[in-house]
Amino acid sequence: MAKILEKRLIRSPDVFYYKIDAPLISKKAGPGQFVIIRLHEKGERIPLSLADINPEEETISLIVMAVGKTTSEMSTYKAGDEILDLCGPLGQPTHIEEVGRVILIGGGFGVAPLYPIARAFRSVGNGVITIMGARSKDLLIYEAEMHYVSDKVIITTDDGSRGTKGVVTTALKQELEQNGADLVMAVGPAVMMRSVCETTRLFTVKTVVSLNPVMVDGTGMCGGCRVLVAGQSRFACTDGPDFDGHQVDWDILMNRQKSYLDEEKESFDAWKKRHAL
């Protein structure tokens, strides 16, 4: 059992911040790692990245985007409620070293793990530039927080309602042309990570991505999270989630993410019906 200590709506209506009591995990976790939660006896196991790690407070934070049954159900949990199972930290922490200039790119819930990653890159002396994109300004999350941990934050919106008009790769290209970079890291939807990799390939900048295939156990036991990297089958939960983006077979990842579309819809519809939504 893990207790929710704090819960906030950070983007209406579907993105929530949770601070969770996790004494041991908070002492062991590193940036880029994730946890797997199971809400209740009948629940599924879903992976969520660590959005913050606070060993002094003995807490971890999660940012959850309600996209389907489990994440929507979690959005009904309040401070004081308990999550039945919390397992972690899982995966390998992001490899942090001093390389010089690091560009971090976040999209969707991918902004969540970027916060501790940015802080870690900066703490070892890197210059950190964060690029965040969304369709319009109301959909941006965590902007203020990212300012704390970045030397520069670049915002892009599809409709131009805030920051540069366009997508993250437009800003990325500009930044690479003007200032260059020693490392790029992208976290978010697979399509976004793929186009980031296509962009950085032209500049031959090393690009790390944090992959998010469907997972079950998170311990290397099921192989459901396998991804093809440099022609090799790798398990994202134990070998990753970070991989060299230029080596990832994106088609396989994106296809496998769609494995359960019908079932996900069925499950979500049934839940909405039960909750008269």
């Binding site: 009948k42 599924e44 899982l90 290397g220 036991m221 134990t238 396989i252 296809n255 069925e266």
Partner: protein, 489 residues
């Protein structure tokens, strides 16, 4: 073959009708009634030198418990079994008796052996129902703390033996349920989860602490455990699934048996959407492999509603490592078998699976395991239509814990090197046993390893309290038949 004379054959065990059971997850065999058990027990010759006991890896006092059943003293029967075997309700159901105790039974020479497994199960179930199984008396607390990593049969047995000796036991388990393969792998219709839960509750009542969701190597390191505890046993199993390495293996609808069974058993995906975890219910399901894992997967697929479910196995039926009884059950349920067949490619359509391309095999020269090596026949490629493919060709050592542990001796394949008699690893106070040492084997061999390690750990703790640390000599390894029963496909 059941002989004509009743004395020559086992009392049949009541089973669910094959047509009904192929669409439900209830247990297939229903178990002996007391009358049947007494009658079957009456077949035992009570041999003076019972060869059955020698065939049992943990030496259950077989003639004694069978005699007690014959006399109607079921409590005495279960008490006798429990002295040697902590999980009889499990073993009675899943042990390969035909290769062990029953293979040695004197009656087997002329007809069928005594149904030792069924009787063991009867005694255990009867005991559980009447609540007199939990005989465990605990020794005075010793003040020593032992950590156990992994709650499969190896870890559970080690915990059981050590807690009885008065040590304080903490089990660290990565998953949200304890039991290892007993919970996530072996399906409900063969091993009801309430039995596993019952045994785990017994352990908890005896004072064993089980910490779930604790992945050792991530949440806590073995080194930290060694600082906190007086000794540690590693029983983390061989949980890393192997894939074939053929084209199409990353298509949607291709599962490792571990994933398919974990979804079905641990996550109860067969009850989706009441339970949240989905599973693909194929119309035509092809399972690659010939062990218990493959047979469990194919029968699970059938129960999830497949119109056709088949086993694709590269050797012939005689070489199938699965338990005979389960192969027999699978056949009755309508599972199709493609023997001497090997997949070479999985053909996709719209991101999913359309067919498996296979070649026919023939048996050539014997390989190191003594079985004849299958070799492909020329120009024999053909396609089997399928929408789900399940790969059950074995497992490897999960590197997560070894990689995060210093100075832990591993063999070439990544399994932990441990003394066969004591489980002693390359580090003082650190023991290991079960599949993480032997590679995928059996429930009973894992239990045997847990028991031997418990004995060694107890000796070690005693010597430690008198400050005399005696290190076992790793050279004195006596080949042990049990630990060598590696179930290589």
């Amino acid at each position: 073959m059941p002989g004509r004379n009743a004395m020559h054959s086992k009392i049949p065990i009541p089973e669910q009708d094959p047509v009904k059971r192929r669409s439900n997850f209830d247990e297939v065999t229903i178990g002996y009634t007391p009358e049947m058990a007494v009658k079957e027990a009456g077949r035992c010759l009570q041999c003076r030198i019972p060869s059955c006991v020698a065939g049992c890896p943990v030496h259950v006092p077989i003639p004694q418990f069978i005699k007690a059943i014959k006399e109607g003293d079921f409590k005495k029967a279960i008490d006798a079994i429990k002295e040697a075997n902590f999980l009889p309700a499990v073993c009675g159901r899943v042990c390969p008796q035909e290769d062990q105790c029953e293979n040695n039974c004197a009656l087997g020479k002329k007809g069928e052996p005594v149904a030792i497994g069924r009787l063991e199960r009867f005694a255990a179930d009867h005991g559980m129902k009447s609540g007199h199984t939990d005989i465990q008396r605990l020794a005075e607390p010793t003040g020593k703390k032992v950590a156990i990593i992994g709650s499969g049969p190896a870890g559970l047995t080690c915990a059981f033996d050590l807690v009885r000796l008065g040590h304080r036991i903490t089990i660290f388990e990565a998953l949200h349920e304890a039991g290892g393969v007993l919970f996530y792998g072996i399906p409900e219709f063969r091993l009801p989860k309430k039995i596993v839960l019952h045994e785990i509750n017994t352990l908890r009542e005896m004072g064993v602490e089980i910490v779930n969701n604790a992945v050792v190597g991530r949440l806590i390191a073995v080194d930290e455990i060694m600082n906190e505890f007086d000794a540690c046993f590693i029983g983390t199993g061989a949980g890393l699934p192997k894939f074939i390495g053929i084209e199409g293996e990353n298509l949607n609808g291709v599962y490792s048996a571990n994933e398919f069974l974990t979804r079905a058993n641990l996550m109860r995906a067969y009850a989706f959407p009441e339970y949240d975890t989905p599973i693909k219910k194929g119309q035509r399901v092809a399972v690659v492999g010939g062990g218990n894992v493959a047979v469990d997967a194919v029968r699970t697929a059938l129960r999830l509603g497949a119109k056709e479910a088949m086993i694709i196995y590269r050797r012939s039926e005689a070489e199938m490592p699965a338990r005979n009884e389960e192969i027999h059950h699978a056949k009755k349920e309508g599972v199709r078998f493609e023997f001497l067949t090997n997949p070479i490619r999985i053909i996709g359509k719209d991101g999913g699976v359309k067919a498996v391309e296979c070649v026919r095999m023939e048996l050539g020269e014997p390989d190191p395991s003594g079985r004849r090596r299958p070799v492909p026949k020329k120009d024999s490629a053909f396609q089997i239509p399928a929408d789900i493919v399940i790969v059950a060709i074995g497992t490897r050592a999960n590197p997560l814990l070894p990689q995060s542990t210093d100075k832990l001796g591993l063999n070439k394949k990544g399994y932990i090197i441990a003394d066969k008699e004591t489980g002693q690893t390359s580090r003082e106070g650190l023991y290991a046993g079960g599949d993480i040492v032997t590679g995928a084997a059996t429930v009973i061999s894992a239990m045997g390893a847990g028991r031997k390690a418990a004995r060694a750990i107890n000796e070690y703790l005693k010597s430690k309290s008198s400050d005399k640390i005696v290190m076992p000599n790793p050279e004195s390894v006596i080949l042990n038949q049990v630990l060598n029963q590696v179930q290589d496909l």
